[in-house]
C-alpha cells in the first residue's frame, strides 16, 4: 500500500499535488475536468482586500515551451471569495490554500484578518507577482522587506502561512532564509520569471503590460534548481512549482527538496493534469517500492 500523504505546518494533505495560484481560479472551471476531491489542495487565484481590475489586454502570449502572462492579479476581492469561492471549495474533500496579494502591508493584513474565521487551511502570501506595479513584488525581491512583511503577516494570521518566492532575485537561498526567519511556516516557489516578447511585424510589445511572467515547461530547470537551493537552507517545507507537466516532473521537484508540488500553466494544456500526476506518483512509488512519498523529499543523491 502506498501512502501519498504529506504534512506541512502540521496539516495533513492526502497527497502532495496542488494547483498553482492563478492557473486554476477557485477550482470551479477545472472542476468540470477533474475531481477536486482527489487533489491534495487547491491554491486559489490571488485575492486582495478589494477588487482589482487587472491589466489591459493582451494579457497572455505563447512562448517556446511556455507562456507569458500579465493578468495583473484581477480578482473580485476578499469579500466575494469568502462569500462564493470558499463555500464552493468546502464542498470538496481537499485542503484550501488562499493566495493573498496586496499593494501595501495594510492591504495584506486586512485580507489575512478577514480570512481568519473562514476555515481555510493555509494562506499563501504572494509577494512575487511580477505584473503589478506597486507593492507585491517589491516585498519579494529584497531580503529585509521579505523578512519584515512575513513577520507582520505571521502576527495577524490565524492560519499557517506560505511565502511564495520570486525567482527574479540574485540569491534564492537568501530569500528563503529571510522568509523562514520572518516566521513563514512554508515556502512556495517559483513564481513566474519576468519576460518580454516583441512582435517583429508590428514592432510592438505583444503584451499590453510590455513585460509578463514566464511559466510552463521552459522554466522547469530553473525552478528545480531554486527548489533545491532553497530547501537546503531552511527547515520549513517547500512547495515546488514551475512548468510541471506530468508525474515525472513532480517527482523531480520532490527529489530536489519539495514536500509538495503544484501544477500551473500546464493545466491549460492538459485540464486533467492534476489527477494524472496523482496516478503517476502512485505508479512510481509502486515501481520503486516507495511506501511513504515523503521518502522522496530531497532524496536526490549528492
Amino acid at each position: 500500500m502506498t501512502d501519498l500523504s504529506v504534512t506541512i505546518a502540521g496539516i495533513l494533505f492526502k497527497n502532495p499535488v496542488m494547483t498553482a495560484s492563478g492557473t486554476f481560479g477557485s477550482g470551479m472551471e477545472y472542476g468540470e475536468f477533474v475531481d477536486l476531491n482527489k487533489l491534495g489542495a487547491v491554491i486559489t487565484k490571488g485575492v486582495a482586500n478589494h477588487p482589482w481590475p487587472g491589466n489591459p489586454t493582451p494579457r497572455v502570449a505563447e512562448t517556446y515551451g511556455g507562456m507569458l502572462n500579465a493578468i495583473g492579479l484581477q480578482n473580485p476581492g476578499i469579500d466575494v471569495l469568502i462569500e462564493r469561492d470558499i463555500p464552493f471549495l468546502k464542498q470538496f474533500d481537499t485542503r484550501i490554500i488562499v493566495n493573498v496579494c496586496g499593494k501595501t502591508v495594510e492591504d495584506y493584513l486586512e485580507t489575512v484578518e478577514k480570512l481568519s474565521d473562514t476555515g481555510v487551511d493555509m494562506l499563501e502570501i504572494n509577494v512575487s507577482c511580477p505584473n503589478v506595479k506597486e507593492g507585491a513584488i517589491a516585498f519579494g525581491q529584497k531580503a529585509d522587506s521579505l523578512y519584515a512583511i512575513t513577520g507582520e503577516i505571521k502576527k495577524k494570521s490565524r492560519q499557517p502561512i506560505i511565502m511564495k518566492l520570486s525567482p527574479n532575485v540574485t540569491d534564492i537561498a537568501e530569500m528563503a532564509r529571510a522568509a523562514e526567519a520572518g516566521g513563514a511556516d512554508a515556502l512556495s516557489l517559483i513564481n513566474t520569471l519576468t519576460g518580454m516578447q516583441i512582435d517583429i511585424h508590428r514592432r510592438s510589445f505583444v503584451l499590453a503590460n510590455k513585460t509578463g511572467g514566464l511559466s510552463g515547461p521552459a522554466i522547469k530547470p530553473v525552478a528545480v534548481r531554486m527548489v533545491y537551493q532553497a530547501s537546503r537552507v531552511v527547515k520549513i517545507p517547500v512547495i515546488g512549482m514551475g512548468g510541471i507537466a506530468n508525474a515525472a516532473d513532480a517527482i523531480e521537484f520532490m527529489l530536489a527538496g519539495a514536500t509538495a508540488v503544484a501544477a500551473g500553466a500546464m493545466n491549460f494544456v492538459n485540464p486533467y493534469l492534476t489527477e494524472e500526476i496523482i496516478v503517476g506518483l502512485e505508479e512510481y512509488m509502486i515501481r520503486y517500492g516507495v511506501k511513504q512519498i515523503s521518502e522522496l523529499i530531497g532524496a536526490v543523491q549528492e
Partner: protein, 263 residues
C-alpha cells in the same frame, strides 16, 4: 449539453478555400453539442506550442458528428493545422463560449455581418436562424478584402447574401456597414463577427437606430475555460465573475450584446 472536455477528433477533409483560409472537417463528439458562435480549442502537436488555438465553429452536423472549422493561417499553430490530412488525429477542447442567442432573432428581421475571418461562425448561425424560422430570410453581409471570396455560396442557402470588398472588385465597394446603410434595409437585430473597428462601428450603428446588436469578440486566450482571466473585455456593468467590469470572452462571451461591452 455536454460538459466541457478535451478529447480526440479525426480529420475528415481539409481544403484551402481562399489564400491562407482553410476549411477543416473533423469527426468529433463535440459536433453533436456545438452551437453557432461557440468555439473549440485545437492543440498543436508540436510540444513547444502549448496552448489551444481558439477556432470558431463554422458548421456542426449533430447527426453525423462532423464539425467544420474555417480558419486563417496566422502563426505556428495554424500553420501546423494547415498540414493536417484526412485521418490525422487531433486534440480538441470544447465546446467553449456562449454562442449567438438565436432566440433574439425570433420574429425579427435579422442582419448578419461578417468581416474577413469573422465570416465563418455566421454560417452555423444563418443555418440555425433559418431552421428555427423557415419563413424569415436573414440578410447576410459578407465583407472581404478583395475578390478572393470564401463561403459565400454556402450562405446562399440560408439568406440573401450581400458581398462587399474593400477594393471594390466584387459587390459593393467598402465594408459591410456601408453596404447595410446603402441597402435601404432596416433590420431589427444585428449579429456580427469581424475585426474590432467593424464591431465598434456596428455597435454605434445599432445604438443610433435603437436596435440590438450581438457581437462576437476575440482576444488572446490561454486556458479557454475561464480560469486564467487572460481574455477579458471591459463591460458596462459589473461582471459576474470578478466584479470588476471585465467579462471573460471565453466564458461570458464570445458573443455579447453590444451595449454590454466597452470596445
Amino acid at each position: 449539453m455536454l460538459s466541457k472536455q478535451k478529447l480526440r477528433g479525426s480529420v475528415i477533409s481539409q481544403q484551402e478555400i481562399a489564400p491562407s483560409i482553410f476549411s477543416l472537417w473533423i469527426e468529433t463528439e463535440l459536433a453533436k453539442y456545438a452551437s453557432a458562435g461557440q468555439f473549440v480549442g485545437i492543440y498543436p502537436k508540436n510540444g513547444a506550442t502549448l496552448l489551444p488555438r481558439p477556432i470558431s465553429v463554422c458548421e456542426a452536423e449533430g447527426e453525423t458528428g462532423r464539425l467544420r472549422l474555417v480558419y486563417r493561417t496566422a502563426g505556428k499553430g495554424t500553420a501546423e493545422f494547415a498540414s493536417y490530412k484526412p485521418g490525422t488525429e487531433i486534440s480538441l477542447l470544447g465546446n467553449l463560449g456562449n454562442g449567438f442567442p438565436l432566440e433574439e432573432a425570433e420574429g425579427k428581421q435579422a442582419a448578419l455581418l461578417g468581416g474577413g475571418i469573422g465570416i465563418p461562425p455566421l454560417l452555423e448561425l444563418a443555418k440555425g436562424l433559418r431552421s428555427r424560422n423557415p419563413t424569415s430570410v436573414p440578410d447576410i453581409f459578407l465583407g472581404y478584402r478583395d475578390s478572393q471570396l470564401f463561403l459565400q455560396k454556402d450562405f446562399e442557402k440560408y439568406g440573401t447574401v450581400h458581398i462587399t470588398t474593400e477594393d471594390g472588385s466584387v459587390g459593393t465597394a467598402g465594408n459591410v456597414l456601408d453596404a447595410l446603410a446603402g441597402s435601404g434595409l432596416s433590420p431589427d437585430v444585428l449579429m456580427a463577427c469581424g475585426p474590432l473597428p467593424m464591431l465598434r462601428a456596428i455597435k454605434a450603428f445599432a445604438a443610433k437606430r435603437h436596435i440590438k446588436a450581438f457581437l462576437s469578440l476575440e482576444e488572446r486566450m490561454a486556458c479557454g475555460i475561464g480560469a486564467c482571466l487572460g481574455c477579458v473585455c471591459k463591460t458596462k456593468e459589473t461582471d459576474p465573475h470578478s466584479h470588476v467590469n471585465n467579462a471573460r470572452i471565453c466564458t461570458e462571451g464570445p458573443v455579447f450584446e453590444a451595449g454590454e461591452v466597452e470596445i
